[in-house]
Every structure is written in C-alpha cells, then in structure tokens.
C-alpha cells in the first residue's frame, strides 16, 4: 500500500528520535519502527530515554519519554549522536530534546499540543515554532490529535482510547517518510490486541491515516530510503543489553551442564536481568529475588557451593553492599559472576543515567588482598558473549568474576545474530570425582591454580570452606604466617594466569598509528565510529578497546609501548587510566573524560583526537 508522489532520496544512515509524554507510548512507537527497520534489512541500534520519575506531571519536561533509533546500510555501532528527525508530541518533548537534534533536522510536531497550556507546562515563555527558536530546522506541524480523532470517529471509541492511538499517527508519518511498509505493523496489532478487535481497527486506521496524510498533503518534498546493510547470512533479532546478559548466562548454564541460579535484588538499571530470568523457569532457571543485595550475593555463594552456575546482578550501590561477600567468594575460591550495570554515581547519584565509574570499585572495593577477574561488555549484543565468557572463566578457574556493563548497554538494543548453542565454546568446570581418595579441598590444578569443586550430595568429598584463611591443600583454617603469604600470592596468581585463557588485545587500525585511542566497556560503538571515520579521512589513529580488564591481555604492555601518543577515553573521571598507570607507569597517557551521565558524541571525540594529532 506504499504510494509515492515524491522523489526518493537514498541515505546511508539516519537517526530518528521519538519523544512524547510518558503516557504517549513512545517506547512502543520506537520499537515498532525498529521492527520495520529490521524487516528492511538495515543494521540498527536503539536507545530509550526514560524519565527518572515513573510518571511525572503530564506535559512537563521531567515527564518526557524518548526513543532513538539509528539505522543504516553500513554496520551501525551506536544508537546515534544527534537526530536527523525528531517527532515531538508536545512542547515539553521539544524542549527536552532540542539538544539532541542535528542542525537542519526535520522536526515533526503535533500542532494541537502546541498551545498556551502546553508552553506553560514545558516552561516556554513563547511559542517556539513562532519565536525563531526553530529557525534552521525543517518544521512540520501536523494536527496529530485532531486527525487521530477524525480517523477513528467511525469506531465510536472513548476519548482515552482514542488519544492512546495518536502515537500511531506520528508513526504513520515517519513510515511514509522512510518508504516503509505498514503491513508488518498491522500484523503486530492483530496479534497483540487479538482479544480486542476494536483496538486493532483503531490502531490500523490511525496508522494508515498518518501515512496517507503525509502522502496526500505532500508534507515532505522528498521521501527517503536506506538500503539494506550487508549483514552476514543468518538469523537475527533485536536485543537489549540486559536481555543479552540474561541469555548469555542461560547459554553458559547449558554449555557447562551446571544449573543456573541467580540471587538478586531489584535496582535500576539492572532489574531487567532478574526479570528476564524469572521468565525462564521453562529452562529450569532459578531466579531468587532476595530481601537485599547482600542476601542476593550470599545466596548465590550458597548455590555455588552446591554446584550451580551462580550469579548476582546489581548496579553500583548494590556492588558496594556486596563488597564483603565478594571477599568470601574469593577466599572460598568458588565460581560466582557478579554483574554490575553501572549508573551515575556516587551514592544514589543519577540512577537513570549511564557512567563507567565503578571500575576502581570493581578492582579494589574489598577488604584485604582480594583479586577477581573483571570483564567489561562492549555493546548490547556483546553482553551475551561477555556473560558467557564470564561464566566460563569463573567456572573453569574457580574464582569470582565481575562483569561490568552500563545503563546505556543495558537499555539500548542492537541487532544480534543468533548463535547456535552448540557452536559456543565448551565450558568444563573442574568437578571433583565421587570418592576420589586424593581429594583435598584446596589442592590445585597446576596450570590454572584452581581448586576442585566438590558438590554436596557427592559421596566421599565432604569438606568445609569458609572466610578464615585456609591452609593450602587441606583447606583447614590456618594462622600460619607463611601460608597466608603463599595463599595471597596464589589467589593473585590464579587470576593473573587467566591471561593465558583470554584472547590477546586487538587493535583497530595500524600498529604504528600516530595516536592510539584507548577505551573500555560500553563506549566501543562510538569509539569505533569515530576512529573509523577518521581513518577514512586518512588520519593516523588506531583504537585499542579493552574488554578484559583483570587480568589485562598478555600483549597489553607491548601494544601500548608501540605508541607515543595515547589517549584514554572514559565516561568517568579517569579510572582505567589510573589502572594503566599503575600497571604500566612507563608510558604517557592523556585522558578524555566526560562525567555528565551522557555518552560520548562522535563530534567531541573527533575534535579531541584531531587536537592531539596536531600537537
């Protein structure tokens, strides 16, 4: 039913931002557009921008909910910097989002909402569409509310239901603008609202009305098209970081043959991992919502002692609370994965914003010498592989792992090529054999230095573990001075030897690039975008993006040593750079830090790197 009467312009990539009041259904609008983007064969990534209040006063800036999608015919690494198209359902949405809009972008407004009352609530002194605020943008004012009402008049709906569909009118306009087929979305309505045919009809009618309105009134001089991206063959889905994390653990449980146990306490932005796992009892997953973070981790340690792949999930304040118990897992040398979905700190901080400021806590936030393995996921989809690898390392090396993700990865989503479980690496935990006459709780594997895992219920392996210092071998409580020193070194060395079991650090770009950009964790997408762009411009820039933090890959020193000009970029006040200085003080590091609860922008990094290149 796509009909065109305007020229179609081909674009390489586009960023669209949908914004409205919390009640306006912007998340659904965005996700339906994402589905159609997937169908169109583009690569894409999305990011929701929830308000921090559940439902702040309607029409105010603090109640604005947004959804951004970035799609392209090339690989897309981020959910995009600034929007090419902004849909603003009311003045507050416009106000809250103007800083996210590219110069010259198209702004689609519901003109019915751009009235005195709306300006007031949004804190506008005058009508922004008239006072010159929007000069330089392509502004399309459409009476979305009025036309929505018209479109469903025949269905005789109550006003609330009617108004609930107006987001679909806006979606219809955007679908037209990008030459998309609306049938897919109609099918969604049919499935989703099966029980309520009237709602199906209403949504269909409004979507079509928006589409046709754009067509008929020729509100766009041109329409646009983004060609399919050259994605590898295979089956794909869209996935958020939190779901990917949950699924990575489920896959690791399957590959290791160990039942999955989660002990957790809800906290933004980590809660969805818990929620997702409670939904998989069909796969025998035990997800325990504990009374607090401490019970979350300690129940997981109990489950780990009992032979489960045990995990606990949280965000920064929760990681603080788990500090003491992580020490117990270190001392008992049990597998355990602790996921920290980082958010803005310190203290309660900025719970709905993302940050990378828990790195030093992950490294050092425990009493005594208590080393753990640390991984940091680099993208929403990579959360799957990071959770899987964290499980593998923890199970095979019998030591806790902290997996760092962040709010942006957790809530953002991207295209994920669906793997086959059988193709994932094998995971072989060092289980002790029943009645092994040589079994000793702290006897170690000579290579990995891991002890064996003897699981309650197994005959012939009864033993006790605990938080007091242990005698090497026997595992008995020991106050012997030299044993304590030995055990301290062994625990450290066990973690360091993991370097033999992780990939070497790769570098994107030339080994002798003039500027080496270093980053870690969730900033991968934007770093890659910038470096790729600058390399295309012929700049001598390379990227070393770290996913393995503790231990660092074996070739790190060598790799860093090849570059005179190194800049470490982080969404914090400089934590990884401190860690690098402490490990490799012989090199000089520059820093680029941003602590605004916001991701890096391509432009700011580019400016910084160019500056460093011209020094």
């Amino acid at each position: 039913m796509t009909s065109k009467n305007s020229k179609v312009i081909e674009l390489e990539q586009v960023v669209i931002r949908f914004a409205g009041d919390s009640g306006d259904g912007m998340q659904l609008t965005g996700s339906l557009f994402s589905d159609s983007t997937a169908f169109a064969g583009n690569d894409f990534a999305t990011f929701p921008d929830y308000p921090s209040e559940i439902r702040a006063p309607q029409g105010t800036v603090s109640g604005v909910s947004g959804f951004q999608i970035h799609f392209g015919q090339k690989t897309v690494h981020t959910s995009g910097d600034l929007a090419d198209v902004l849909i603003a359902m009311n003045p507050a949405s416009l106000k809250a989002n103007m800083r996210w809009v590219k110069e010259g972008a198209t702004i689609i407004l519901d003109s019915d909402a751009f009235v005195e009352k709306g300006f007031e609530k949004a804190g506008y002194k005058s009508d922004p569409t008239l006072d010159g605020s929007l000069d330089g943008f392509k502004v399309i004012k459409s009476p979305v509310t009025t036309l929505t009402k018209e479109a469903v008049k025949h269905l005789d709906l109550d006003m609330k239901t009617t108004l609930k569909t107006k987001n679909m009118f806006a979606l219809g306009i955007v679908m037209y603008m990008f030459n998309r087929d609306i049938e897919l979305i109609n099918k969604y309505y049919e499935k989703k609202f099966k029980a309520n045919p009237l709602v199906v009809d209403a949504n269909k009618a409004v979507l079509a009305a928006g589409f046709n309105y754009a067509d008929t009134l020729e509100i766009f001089v041109n329409t646009y098209k983004v060609e399919p991206a050259p994605l590898e063959k295979g089956k794909y889905r869209n996935i958020t970081g939190n779901v990917a994390t949950a699924w990575g653990f489920i896959a690791a449980a399957e590959r290791s043959g160990r039942p999955l146990f989660l002990g957790s306490y809800p906290i933004t932005p980590a809660t969805e991992i818990l929620q997702e796992l409670t939904n998989h009892k069909n796969l025998s997953i035990k997800a325990f919502q504990a009374e607090d973070e401490i019970a979350g981790i300690v129940s997981a340690i109990g489950a780990s002692y009992t032979g489960a792949l045990a995990i606990t999930t949280t965000s920064g304040p929760g990681l603080s609370l788990k500090s003491e118990a992580i020490g117990l897992a270190v001392m008992t040398e049990l597998p355990l994965v602790i996921v920290d979905v980082q958010r803005g700190g310190p203290s309660t901080g900025l719970p709905t914003k993302s940050e990378q400021s828990d790195l030093l806590q992950a490294l050092f936030g425990r009493n005594g010498e208590a080393p753990v393995i640390i991984l940091a996921a680099k993208s929403s989809a990579d959360c799957f592989y990071s959770a899987f690898e964290a499980s593998k390392l923890s199970l095979e090396h019998m030591t806790p792992v902290i997996l760092l993700t962040d709010g942006s990865l957790a809530n953002g989503s991207e295209v994920f090529k669906i793997p086959r479980v059988a193709d994932l690496p094998a995971i072989v935990p060092p289980l002790a054999e029943a009645n092994d006459p040589d079994y000793k709780p702290y006897r170690r594997d000579p290579e990995r230095l891991s002890r064996k895992w003897a699981i309650p219920g197994t005959p012939g392996l009864r033993h006790r573990v605990g938080g007091l210092e242990k005698e090497d071998g026997s595992g008995n409580v020991s106050h012997d001075p030299l044993n304590h020193q030995k055990m301290t070194f062994l625990r450290e060395e066990k973690v360091q030897r993991v370097a033999n079991y992780i990939p070497e650090q790769t570098i994107f770009g030339s080994e002798d690039a003039e500027l080496l950009v270093v980053s870690w964790g969730g900033t991968y997408g934007v770093m890659l975008t910038v470096v790729e762009k600058m390399q295309e411009q012929g700049k001598s820039v390379a990227l070393a993006h770290f996913k393995h933090i503790m231990p660092l890959p074996k070739n790190t020193e060598e790799l860093l040593g090849r570059h005179k000009n190194i800049v470490v970029c982080e969404i914090n006040n400089g934590q990884f750079v401190k860690y690098l200085r402490m490990n490799f003080p012989q090199f000089k590091y520059q820093q680029y830090n941003k602590i605004q609860g916001l991701p890096f922008m391509v432009a700011e990094l580019e400016t910084k790197f160019n500056e460093l290149l011209n020094q």
């Binding site: 589905d35 064969g41 009892k281 129940s299 340690i301 109990g302 002692y305």
Partner: protein
C-alpha cells in the same frame, strides 16, 4: 570387577560418621560442646545419607560448629548464614540443610535474612545458640541481653529491651519454634529430631551458657534450686503443668495467661490450657513463647509446629509446570523466539 555390590540402601550411620578431625576449640565448660554432641547423635538417625547434610554458619563462637562436623559445610560471614543456607537449599532441595548461628549473628547483623528466611518458609533447620552475649568478640551485649545487664559496651547496663526469639519468629510468620536448654541432652535430641522432620523453616532456640562472658545467664531456669518453678516442659496435647510437685499450671483467663495451683481455689487439671502445637493461629503460641520468670515459667519444647508449603516446593512446582507448558523447551528455541528475521 564383577559382582560388586552397589550400595543403594541407606546404611545405619553412627556418631563417628560425623565427627571431624579438627580440634574443638571452645572454652572448657562452654554450652556449645553439649550441643555438638546432641547434633552428632541426631544426624545418624535421620535416615539421610551423610553426604546429603550441609551445615552452614555465620561468624561467632557458635559458628565454628561446621568445622567440627564431618559433613559438607560453610563457615560464612557474620550474619549471612540464613542467606547462604537459602542458596544451598534452593540450588538442591534434596539436601538436609542446618544453620548454626548465635544471637548476635542472626538477630543483630543477620536479623534481616533471619526474618525473611522464616517468612519464606524455606526448609532449613536453624539452631540458634542464645547465650545472650557476643562471645567471640569478648563480651558486648547482644539483641537478647536482658535490659539493664552490664557488659563491656553497657557499663551502666543496656538501654534496650531484648528480642524474644520466639516472638520475633512468630511475628515473621514462623511455623516452627522450639526452645531447649544446653544442659538437657535428651531434650535437645528430641527437639532436633522434630525440627529435622518439620517441612519448612524450623527454629530451635538453645539457651546456651557462655562461661566466660555471661556465665549463668540462664541460671534461673537451669539451676537445681530454681528450675522446677521456672521451667515448663510442654508437650502437644498435654496440659501446661510445672513445679516440683507438678501442681502448678497455666490457664488462659480472658485475654491473658495466668499461673494457677492445682487444688487451690477449686482449680483442677482440666482447667489448664492444653498445648496444641499444630494450631495455625499463633496468638496463644505467642503468649506461651513470651512466658518469662518471675511471673511465668519458661516454656521448653516444641511451642509451634504448623505445616505449610515451603518456598522451594512452590519454586520446583512452578518450574515443573513451566517446563511442561512452555512452548520453549531449549535454549536454542529461546534464542530464536519472538521477533527474528533472516538475511540470506
């Protein structure tokens, strides 16, 4: 290699099966020794394989217990034994999980896990060594120290009303509560057996004596001279009788309990409150658990024992149900569920 006999039956175990090779380091005279002996006597007689016991504790003198038992065991961190035991039990509901804790460990720092575990009714057996003092840290007051008692941190006496474990357990929806004395091995053995058999969280308060930091904390109840008037051994279906001459008893008068003497004022045994440990409504159990000298004798034995679904049973049922009814049976199916598309 042929004709090997595969052990399928549970063989009768003995005390020796459970003694560990570690030196027991409690102070001479500490009540903990007697409790250890009782537990060693109970474990072989539960019909459970020795490798199916897990003994979990926090930190405190009492919490050294797992090291002295030859079972699977974890000596965890202060206050967290209940959370750890929860993880063990949920990970493998077939195990017999015992939690050893002190009044500080489970009622001070561990209070939250304590009440939540009880509320959830997870089938673990909690032995609370109530010596009314912090032993391991050498004598500070605990949440069960009697008000006004002088300790290292209350040189003028404490300002706080103590918890009564039985009351707190009932307030937290507890279904099994019993009280025993460390000086009564038979009483301990009987109660531990009942606790083991009860499905759901069983809480046994053991009035344990710390000879060093609060010697004779329970003297009124245990001493030869005063015990007859201050102990009441309760039994299901039996009237509440006590006293040297077994002539005193408890009646429920209006909304309160009262001590009466049989034969005086026309009171007969038939007037006495008859103990029903299976009564769901905890009102009277609460009253019985609250009885304290000088007004009342202390009730010993099983005060409350009510059947209810356990958390882990609900969880396992739900898993079984979902496994049967979900259309997604494998991890691959999960990965491929919902909206997907194919690039060819």
């Amino acid at each position: 290699m042929e004709n090997q006999i595969i052990e399928t039956e549970i063989i009768q175990l003995t005390k020796e099966d459970f003694s560990s090779d570690q030196m027991v380091k409690w102070c001479p005279g500490c009540g903990d020794h007697a409790i250890l002996h009782s537990v060693e006597n109970v474990f072989p007689n539960l019909g459970i394989r020795k490798e199916d016991f897990v003994v979990v504790s926090g930190i405190g003198c009492s919490s050294r217990f797992p090291y002295y038992m030859n079972t699977y065991g974890v000596h965890s961190i202060h206050g967290r034994a209940a959370a750890l035991a929860t993880g063990v039990k949920l990970a493998n509901p077939k195990l017999s999980v015992w939690m050893i804790t002190g009044d500080g460990d489970c009622m001070a720092i561990g209070g939250n896990h304590f009440i939540h575990t009880i509320r959830r009714n997870i089938d673990i057996n909690i032995l609370l060594f109530n010596n009314k003092i912090y032993g391991l840290t050498k004598g500070q007051y605990s949440p069960t120290t009697p008000k006004g008692h002088k300790t290292k941190t209350s040189p003028q006496g404490t300002y706080e009303r103590p918890f009564n474990p039985g009351e707190l357990v009932i307030g937290a929806q507890g279904n099994f509560f019993a009280r025993v004395l460390d000086t009564n091995p038979k009483g301990m053995t009987a109660v531990f057996m009942e606790a083991a058999k009860h499905k759901g969280t069983s809480l046994v308060e053991i009035m344990q004596n710390c000879v060093i930091f609060f010697n004779k904390a329970h003297e009124l109840i245990t001493s030869r001279e005063t015990r007859d008037d201050n102990q009441l051994q309760i039994e299901h279906g039996k009237p509440l009788i006590f006293g040297k001459e077994k002539n005193k008893g408890i009646i429920l008068k209006g909304t309160r309990l009262e001590v009466v003497t049989i034969g005086e004022n026309g009171v007969t045994e038939a007037d006495l409150l008859v103990h029903d440990q299976y009564e769901k409504d905890p009102g009277v159990h609460m009253m019985i658990a609250r009885m304290m000298p000088p007004e009342f004798p202390v009730a010993l034995g099983v005060i409350r024992s009510v059947a209810a679904e356990t958390f882990e049973q609900s969880m396992m049922d739900s898993i079984a149900y979902e496994k049967e009814h979900s259309s997604i049976k494998t991890v691959d199916e999960m990965l491929n569920s919902g909206g997907t598309w194919t690039i060819e």
